[in-house]
């Protein structure tokens, strides 16, 4: 099995008519994803390489039965696009677009959380997610992933996500689902959401988690792993040797209490029983050892 996405998921692409949306939308379709529709308020009735375009997400969903959407619209339009998708009842809203204002993210995250309990946002500023061999939604290169499990991947960083998939493929280890949650201030889906889903997915036997400096998401994940995960986890945190950040005011530093450094994250994860590598290759090797011992 996979989490959040499989070969039966029907996906609408908001922004399919733009150059980036078209490029990745068609690549995703080639991979096997059910790319059933695109939306554009003024291009309803046209198509992109045979994929029908509707004016709104609601119309596209009614016509196709889609339950997921992937957003490639430019940053100023993302807030509207996410709210439209949620109002149309989409269960999964994947936002690839980068450069979305933090206040927009904070707003739509909280509106969706309050009013649309069945909607999961992934991103913004994320590579999307791939359930290898089944479906790929976003900008991950499908062929760098081996299908089948037993490993689930969750990552905050784009290229390191690809690196992780590739490290595992070279060791002939398959992946159930790889989720890129993105590094923006208000990610719709957290490490914990993914860990929880992997924990209850019978085909996922182990989880690889790629984090980076800043915030406290990794520390929170470590707490979750300690208390709720039975499956083994390996991890890598980028930015171990990052110099101290410039300080702008003190409102951030004051509540950080030493959290946010790679060192603190690695220690928290190790204390939770996670095997932590010092570079992506080492994390891959640790996961290979875990898989051998399963």
């Amino acid at each position: 099995m996979s989490i959040f996405l499989d070969e039966n998921t029907k996906v609408i692409y908001q922004g399919l008519t733009g150059s980036t949306g078209r490029y990745y939308g068609l690549l995703n379709r080639d991979y096997g994803t059910q790319v059933v529709a695109g939306t554009h308020p003024k291009k309803a009735g046209t198509d992109v390489d045979g994929i029908p375009i509707y004016a709104t997400v609601a119309e596209a969903a009614a016509a196709t039965g889609a339950t997921a959407t992937c957003i490639f619209v430019p940053a100023p339009g993302v807030k509207g696009a996410v709210l439209e998708a949620a109002e149309a009842g989409m269960e999964l809203v994947v936002v690839i677009t980068e450069g979305v204002p933090a206040h927009d993210e904070a707003y739509f995250y909280n509106v969706v959380k309050r009013d649309h309990l069945n909607t999961r946002i992934l991103g913004p500023n994320c590579p999307g997610l791939i359930s290898p061999g089944k479906a790929n939604v976003g900008i991950t290169a499908g062929h760098i992933a081996k299908a089948g499990g037993p490993v689930g991947i969750v990552s905050r960083s784009g290229t390191l996500t690809y690196q992780a998939l590739y490290e595992l493929k070279q060791k002939d280890i398959g992946v159930t689902t790889c989720v890129g949650i993105g590094g923006d201030p208000v990610p719709g889906t957290s490490f914990i959401d993914c860990l929880e889903a992997f924990e209850s997915d019978p085909e996922t036997k182990a989880v690889m988690m790629i984090g980076e400096i800043g915030g406290s998401a990794e520390e929170e994940a470590a707490e979750f792993i300690k208390n709720h995960m039975s499956k083994p986890v390996s991890s890598y945190i980028a930015g171990v040797t990052a110099p101290p950040g410039k300080k702008m005011g003190h409102a951030g530093a004051i509540v950080s209490g030493g959290k946010g450094t790679a060192q603190a994250k690695m220690e928290a994860l190790e204390a939770a029983g996670v095997r932590v590598g010092h570079n992506p290759t080492e994390a891959g090797e640790l996961m290979a050892a875990i898989v051998r011992s399963l």
């Binding site: 206040h103 290169a141 760098i144 406290s216 171990v240 410039k246 300080k247 005011g249 409102a251 946010g260």
Partner: protein
Amino acid sequence: MISVGELRADEPRWVQSDAMDLLEYQGKQFFAQYGIPVSDGEATGDVEEAVAIANRVGYPVVVKAQVHTGGRGKAGGVKLAENEVEAREHAGNILGLDIKGHIVKTIWVEKASDIAEEYYASFTLDRSAKQYLGMLSAEGGVEIETVAEENPDAIAKIHVNPAEGLSEAQCRQWVVAANLNPDATEGAVDILMKLYEAYVQGDADLVEINPLILKPTGEVHALDAKVSLDSNADFRHPDYEQYDATQPRDERETAAHEKGLQYVGLEGTVGVIANGAGLAMSTVDVVNQVGGKPANFLDVGGGANADMFADAMNVINNDPSVKSIFINIFGGITRGEEVANGILEAMERVSIDAPIVIRLDGTNADEGRAILEPRLNDKLMMEPTMLEAARRAVELAE
């Protein structure tokens, strides 16, 4: 007291590249647009103009250095002037002053304020709670970290749901919880409502007033301003372009910024070019792990074409401390042969002095390596893994 989860640490600059930090005078002008009372004053880079401003606003005045660093007072960058002679003397001394490596080019001259009490107020994002966090304290005018450490109960915190906004009733409760002088309540509620509006409508990452003062006459007033804006929201605020010129960047960072590259200058000798922020960060880590010192962090982004590599190489080339260059590329959608051709074409355009070590992996890596293979020499090397490439680059830098 409202309890609050742990917030983020101040993030290293490369993940914070969307933040635009304002100087105090810019922050005060920003606050003034939202109706927050600030002292009458003006910014200038000229001594005689400073005197004219002082004469206009009326003595006593405060002359304040405008630099992106703390500790201005201790460094002699903030002075009170009672008359024209003193104003001229202080302006002359402060302009050109070196404060922790920042040379003062601009001073702010404002009317001095009588202070009865000093408070602290700020809004920022609590990333754990995914809500806004307001902090208010009766103990202002000092380092707020010290207050947080020694007397955390002296800081009243409030979470605001971004989907709901801050109501006046909520704000009033918060002010009461902070135990300010009751004379300050009305003024504080008014300023905090406006500060919230500035934070949200102005697309700020941080708005902070320290000190927020109560005057003997009963008015509440912002005596300082720390504002960091989210440059991702520039499309809503075309006027924010003006702040770009005063961002604290070294020469290398300025050159990279002009080319649209994500670059952070470091102190070492190994130039780093990678695609993707995570991989670039990881590359800096690995160079350190094998005993080297990275000269920079440079993310060339997703696509990999000759223009981008040429720009990146130019930026690195301008750094005299670079002794070797490590190009670390993982091809995802971008194919290895595109990367290889991009690098070779860029090398024809830019004359590079330092030897280059390439690690190319991912999609069509073999095809890309095959293109690079015949061109390898003692100025252009290739290694199969990140670690080996890092070791080679570090050796070459020694």
